[in-house]
């Protein structure tokens, strides 16, 4: 599950990671109030006004501004709240901004230069261990840094038996070229950040940038935080941070019926049991001359109710020209799925796109017979190859 920047920072600060002081606001008036409070707390009269959406690159799309006066806070908040923010990570139409984070500006003057650092924590899957990845080139697209100057990216791998060790935190601070107070602050920062990562069952922390301020304090100036969905049961407070506005409404609806659905841009919808077979079915649609309109795993218990809901969800997409149902019956009996398809067809009524049903495995022949005798405009197949050919024929017709 992805979190907003302000939510990620709430989690970080719980574990002692220093973050800029800030308050979330949903209107320009509230943003001004927030700015006053930030000023009272920090004594600083510059503010960052930052759009809160689940996508990076917000600054590039005009979603992050530095305000020098309260009037500017109001103006920027007014511009940002309600805008469709387009960033390199959003779709072309962008994402609606509902909230801004009004924060103390951490580029305040002081005795030493401000520097921007990159730091992330993630899983090294091959080794089954967490690692801290960091670079002196903060505030930039890390993939670009990896391409242009790979020697400026460092990693520390964490041994799960003993956890993060002091020498590793010191190594990080030294590699980042820090000394004196900034060095000490960084060692503390790294420990707190790793503790936050483990304690919240995160699967990704990306802090870009980490700021070494002019007075040698270290701040997480941004926070991209992803939490392991499988672990949400033991973090009910974090689970409550889910923002449904940030998710595709169709995918949210699908999840209510335990359907695993991902919307795509193609013309052939599909409904499959099992994630691997679903991906393979999408690939086959492409080879048959179509483009998959979705990924949809109906799961291990593809009963009539879920089949019907799956049809309803796929049919919401006006681009869908055909639907391929591919079920390999194991525990699931194909005749039950076939009955579900027939019922769904009758309940929904007026389905105008051709449906190709491929049933294989337990009671496949009975399932096919049920469909063939139903009198519905449904093409049935048993072999995968036959199904592929039917998709091709239907698209040509």
């Amino acid at each position: 599950m992805n979190l907003h920047e302000f939510q990620g920072k709430q989690i970080l600060s719980r574990y002692g990671v220093s973050v800029p002081f800030g308050i979330v606001a949903e209107s320009p008036a509230k943003a001004v109030e927030a700015a006053k409070e930030v000023q009272a707390k920090t004594g600083l009269d510059r503010w960052a006004v930052k759009a809160q959406i689940h996508a990076g690159g917000r600054g590039k799309g005009g979603g992050v501004k530095i305000a020098k006066t309260l009037e500017e806070v109001e103006l920027y908040a007014d511009q940002i709240i309600g805008m469709m923010l387009v960033t390199p990570q959003t779709s072309a139409e962008g994402k609606l901004v509902r909230k801004v984070l009004v924060e103390q500006n951490i580029f305040y003057p002081g005795p030493s230069p401000v520097s921007e650092i990159y730091m992330s924590i993630l899983m090294n899957r091959a080794k089954g261990r967490n690692m801290i990845m960091y670079s002196t080139r903060g505030g930039m697209d890390i993939e670009k840094v990896a391409e242009e100057t790979p020697d400026l990216i460092f990693t520390e791998e964490i041994d799960p038996k003993v956890g993060l060790q002091g020498f590793q935190a010191r190594q990080i601070a030294f590699n980042l070229g820090l000394s004196g107070d900034a060095y000490k602050e960084m060692v503390k920062f790294v420990f707190s950040l790793y503790k936050a990562f483990e304690s919240s069952d995160a699967s990704l922390f990306e802090i870009n940038p980490v700021i070494k301020a002019a007075d040698d304090r270290i701040f997480a100036a941004d926070a991209k935080v992803t939490i392991d969905n499988n672990a949400l049961y033991r973090h009910t407070d974090i689970a409550a941070m889910r923002d449904l506005h940030e998710e595709d409404p169709i995918e949210v609806e699908a999840s209510r019926f335990d359907l695993n659905f991902v919307k795509l841009d193609g013309n052939v919808g599909c409904m499959v049991n099992g994630a691997g077979l679903a991906m393979a079915t999408m690939d086959m649609i492409k080879m048959s001359g179509g483009e998959p309109a979705n990924f949809l795993d109906v799961g291990g218990t593809a009963n009539a109710k879920r089949v019907e809901e799956a049809f309803r969800i796929i049919l919401k997409d006006p681009n869908v020209k055909a639907i391929l149902v591919n079920i390999f019956g194991g525990i699931v009996r194909c005749d039950r799925v076939a009955q579900g398809i027939v019922d769904a067809y009758n309940n929904i009524g007026a389905i105008n796109v051709p449906i190709i049903v491929r049933l294989q495995g337990t009671n496949a022949a009975e399932g096919k017979a049920l469909i063939d005798q139903s009198g519905l405009k449904v093409f049935s197949a048993i072999k995968l190859q036959e199904a592929a050919e039917l998709v091709n024929e239907v698209l040509k017709a």
């Binding site: 091959a126 691997g276 086959m284 194991g330 495995g361 592929a388």
Partner: protein, 289 residues
């Protein structure tokens, strides 16, 4: 021969008396698997499906000599169940449970690294040696004792391959579902190594998907040590970047995670890659003729 499980395997079911455990243990017994008992803490001393129930895995091992365990314990307790099985000296631990937190699996992997147990899964359909032992949730009837070994990250896609091999008259030696999670016990390469050294296995079907580097790692091993034809399929050529496709492990992060990149590596290593999942059985038949 076969790998991991066979007629001699003495199989223990963890989470035996729960609904999943009950249903699938029943199916396994019906298939002819030598299920020697089960574990449900607090229900030790009772009987279930005609088999003894124990409080702990250690107890069960002492009384039954179990050497294989299959886990149907809910996700919050599954990591603990795997470690309990390893502590009791179980040789092959098959974890079916889906939804175990990743950081729990980090601990499990570390725990197993200094022990002699092999973990298959989690989030997998299990392991089957047709005609001998079914340790998992796969439909038994589609399998047939035969010549081809299978390793796969997916459930129903494995059944698809099994079915094609059965219909092609090739059958299977052992089919291993390694699971779709980011951190798993037995990797693609581990399973390929096992099948390569099995006398009965004449060819190997290797089914992978987008995300992670396991298929590439297996491919490079095959290039160096392979002695049998391998047919490969990688699912997810049409999957978008950055979206998890059902399995927690199936997500395209970098360029090497894509289906195209993986297929290119597999081909370069001499693996017979099919682009359509419908061609897996056909291709293997051509190679074994």
């Amino acid at each position: 021969m076969s790998v991991l499980v066979n007629k001699q395997s003495r199989v223990l079911v963890q989470g035996f008396t729960g609904s999943e455990g009950t249903f699938h243990a029943g199916q396994m017994i019906e298939y002819g698997t030598n299920v020697v008992g089960g574990v449900t803490p607090g229900k030790g001393g009772t009987e279930h499906l005609g088999k003894p129930v124990f409080n702990t895995v250690a107890d069960a091992v002492k009384h039954t000599g179990a050497d294989v365990s299959v886990i149907f314990v809910p996700p919050a307790f599954a990591a603990d169940a795997i470690m309990e099985a390893a502590a009791a000296g179980i040789g092959v631990i098959v974890c079916i449970t889906e939804g175990i937190p990743t950081l729990d699996m980090v601990k499990v992997k570390e725990y197993l690294s200094s022990r002699n147990s092999r973990l298959v899964g989690p989030n997998c359909p299990g392991v089957i040696t047709p005609g001998e032992a079914k340790v998992g949730i796969m439909p038994g009837f589609i399998h047939q004792q035969g010549r081809v070994g299978i390793v796969s990250r997916s459930g129903t896609l494995t059944y698809e391959a099994v079915d094609q091999l059965t219909k092609a008259g090739l059958g299977q030696t052992t089919a291993i579902g390694i699971g779709g999670d980011p951190i798993i016990g037995t990797t693609t390469r581990d399973a390929v190594e096992l099948l390569m050294s099995d006398d009965k296995t004449e060819g190997i079907v290797m089914i992978g998907e987008i995300g992670g580097g396991m298929e590439a790692e297996a491919a490079y091993w095959i290039k160096e040590h392979g002695t049998k034809p391998v047919v490969g399929f990688i699912a997810g050529a049409t999957a978008p970047k950055g979206r998890t496709m059902g399995h927690a492990g199936a997500i395209i992060g970098g360029k090497s995670d894509t289906a195209e990149a993986k297929k290119a590596i597999l081909r370069e290593c001499g693996i017979h890659v099919v682009d359509s999942p419908a061609d897996i059985g056909k291709r293997m038949l051509e190679l074994l003729k």
